[in-house]
Subunit: 205 residues, 4 copies
């Protein structure tokens, strides 16, 4: 018993997911203001009014879609970092995972990036903060890996938090560069460059 309810809840959750997916697709294709609720309803194959039973307004839907994706990314990246592997393997896995996540979704990356960066304005008040928290958490986890690496004398002896921020900046920059012009600038080489910057005595080796 309660299965009836449960089934209904599952169904509701599935519908919500369909809406979020449709919304995210359209938002990343055209940008927030160029997507109408009607278009989202159509893409998601729901009636316009039905969307409003799940999200109180467009704003809310946007936030939910972004947070959904951000949460997914965050989960993937933290999973990668928390594996039972060595420091170098973890960082390599992180860098690779980030590329794997964003490559097929460059638009979403931009969106996410803009939010992470801050191009969010009052409009998305709240979203900014929530994504900020995720980002802070990620930095903290990265810093902890860095710390481990420094103590193991694998990484250069710099402030772990700074190194985490640096890694974020480097991966973002190389990702963008790669996505802009995939041929001219293979991502693998970027990984090498990033590694060398962090590794202790890398030149000596």
């Amino acid at each position: 018993m309660g299965t009836g309810l449960s089934r209904r809840e599952k169904e509701r959750h599935r519908q919500r997911g369909d809406m979020l997916a449709a919304a995210l697709e359209l938002f990343s294709e055209k940008g927030y203001h160029h997507v109408s609720m009607k278009a989202i309803a159509k893409r998601a194959e729901f009636a316009l009014g039905t969307i409003y039973r799940f999200f109180s307004n467009k704003e809310d839907l946007y936030k939910a879609a972004m947070l959904e994706k951000a949460g997914e990314y965050h989960r993937t990246l933290t999973d990668v970092l928390s594996g039972e592997q060595g420091v170098l393997a973890a960082l390599n896995a992180y860098i690779t995972a980030k590329a794997r996540i964003f490559a097929p979704n460059i638009e979403i990356f931009y969106l996410y990036f803009a939010e992470t960066g801050g191009v969010s304005f009052n409009l998305r008040a709240g979203l900014h903060e929530e994504i900020g928290l995720l980002h802070d958490d990620l930095i903290k986890r990265l810093a902890s890996v860095m710390d481990k690496g420094v103590r193991a004398r694998i990484l250069r002896d710099l402030d772990p938090h700074d190194m985490a921020v640096a890694l974020e900046g480097l991966t973002n920059a190389f990702l963008l560069s790669w996505l802009k012009d995939p041929e001219r600038h293979p991502y693998e080489e970027s990984i090498n460059t990033i590694s060398k910057l962090f590794l202790e005595g890398s030149l000596a080796a």
Copy 2:
């Protein structure tokens, strides 16, 4: 002495500048779609119609405002790089200048960043490309400085273009980190970290 014409032209230019300034303020405060032409007119203290004597539509005004600022930033940063100084001095000056430029204009930085990154959609077609060109030029100039540094055995022996991209990513990341929480994370320390990542034998010293 042509002062008649010159005065009128100067006046026109001043008005245009006022409009661009007002537009930029508002766009960075609220985002493109949340700013009405009426609001820009009011902020700039012109009549609505007057704006249309200078810019053919909102789109045009936005592009002009962004390009104006982007050009200004680009000029400042390339000036810094082309001084008759050593490699290290040049890079330090660059990093500092970037902070000096963006610190008071974090919103504009986000805007610029978003455009550099790509959150621009069809809407701003053209702008994206033009800013992209400026950015490419900057990278090229940075790479040339890096090359000089590598050949002088001051910097690590990595691909100069990659190092340029890396520097961009690092400065952006640290700037954002600093601007988010100025107390906790002094920008000066970031500069140290950045330096150390690029300097040859920095750990040995």
Copy 3:
């Protein structure tokens, strides 16, 4: 019995009709450019946006309103001409019907007339042509009646098409004259005059 669908369709058609009626009223009262969509919405007792569910823009609404009325007039007049009556009866019926149609709608007559004439400019491209086709059709039908009359030696032996055009011109002129000053110039006398001009040997009688 499909009544559900039918009812909705009927409702839709009724709404469309109300909008067209309101639009036609206002357009004939004040002219195309002096009527705002808001005013039409108000007169038709719909919200502004609702009108746009039926007509894609003001232009479209105008054309639809004109064509609606033109079609109605055309139907009425061709019906009159195609009755199983004699030539004289047909022409008399035509002249009378025209008066009956336009008398209560002098403004619409002007509008129709202007379109028939050509005061439409690019703006109403298309409408002009469509109304022109209706007009040509009417002339052709009139000419055919004239032809019958000529062959029956009831009407003067002139070119039927010319006679049709002439009848149009005469009825228009007398209608306008009558509508301008109904007392001074009874329409019945106009009919007599028109008849006499076309009848063979009318003076001899």
Copy 4:
């Protein structure tokens, strides 16, 4: 002695004429509402403000332009009618003159026609009346010619005023028909038809 003033007045009159000509050209090309005062100023090669020294507003300019042309037409047509010629010659001259006047100016004809007809709305209040007076005067003069013709037993014995109105309607209709499709419907034949309708015993001859 007054020559100075006179010269200035002449100059003013010439300027006024240039403005009216430019305005009429544009109005007939595009229609009242699609012509801006700026465009008229440019076509007339005057400054925008200067136009307002001659006409208090756009409305006023339109009326003046229409009345100017209407007066010109009226003068031409009444001149033709008041010549020392026979009735038939006068009517023929009238019909020909009307074609000569309007053929190169079909748009103005439509405009004039619309005003004569009545598509004028509140907007052009006044203009309508004034053109109406000219039109009435023309009808009266035509009627007087008709009367002479009837008394001379050249024309059919119908009410002269009706015949005048009829002639107006016929010439308008044939003119429009001709202007719409000049090849298919030579105006000369129309003249024949018109003549036959009015001439006494024309079929007998």
